[in-house]
Amino acid sequence: MADPVGPLVFVAGDADGICDSKTGVCAVPEPDTGPDAVVSEPQ
């Protein structure tokens, strides 16, 4: 496993979707409104 070389640079901007590490809820884009927090299954 590689050791961290320095602080990670985080990519700016929204992903199409992500599943939240605390709740397990997956954000789903609303039609025509871009990414937004709606529900999907927990994992």
């Binding site: 990670l8 640079v9 990519v11 590490s21 999907s40």
Partner: protein, 224 residues
């Protein structure tokens, strides 16, 4: 492989049933496959259980959500259909009938597969067939069959499943991801330089690969 084409390690924290992890992994691979130097990128899949308290008995995706968060099935399935449409638009199978359950044992086997150099192959085979609705990966018999299909020793995998091997490695992956700033999955870390949370587009992944390769080249020049 020349010095300038030294391996670049890409780590993806992911969970088996996570739809955005599934979409994101295929997009990342597409971005890699577009490159003439695709062979220099090493993808390592790291464990992150989105729902460590999930039951071991499989249930439908809507049942799993309602048990954890309440609500009604129509809301869950509406969201699922939107991801399904997006995934199918990218040529990916996406079954709404796939099963959901605790993924801890799967992740333990993933660590064994990774030790054998087959982590990505194993994970991808299981996840692709899960999202195709083709397997129940929570059935040890079916999981071993997939493991054997990618070249793992079935008897060894059965021993892993019957033990608590790789439990600490699975927990350690979670801790490390959180320490790096993970707030959700997929969470992709490129060469321990750049982090990309969530399912990014193929184009964004491609831009990050360009950036990382450029940084590698600069380090080669700087260090002679």
């Amino acid at each position: 492989m020349s010095v300038q084409e030294a391996p670049v390690v890409i780590e993806m924290w992911t969970d088996l049933g996570c739809p955005w992890c599934y979409v994101g992994k295929h997009r990342l691979q597409a971005a890699i496959d577009r490159r003439t130097d695709a062979g220099r990128f090493v993808v390592r899949l790291r464990s992150f259980e989105l729902n460590p308290d999930a039951p071991r008995e499989p249930e439908t995706i809507e049942s799993a959500f309602i048990r954890s968060h309440g609500g009604d099935a129509s809301v869950v399935l509406d969201a699922e259909r939107r991801i399904q449409a997006l995934a199918r638009g990218e040529g990916l199978a996406f079954s709404l009938d796939r099963l959901n359950a605790n993924t801890f044992d799967f992740h333990r086997v993933l660590h064994h597969a990774d030790e054998q150099g087959l982590g990505t192959e194993f994970f991808s085979a299981v996840q692709d067939q899960l999202f195709a609705g083709a397997i129940n990966p929570f059935d040890p018999v079916e999981l071993v069959q997939v493991a054997e299909s990618v070249g793992l020793d079935g008897e060894r995998v059965r021993r892993v499943l019957a033990s608590d091997e790789y439990a600490e490695e699975t927990h350690a992956d979670r801790r490390e991801g959180l320490a790096l700033g993970l707030t959700g999955v997929p969470f992709v870390v490129f060469d321990r330089q750049v982090a990309a949370p969530g399912a990014q587009s193929v184009e964004v992944y491609g831009q990050i690969l360009d950036q990382i390769v450029g940084q590698h080249a600069q380090r080669v020049v700087a260090h002679g």
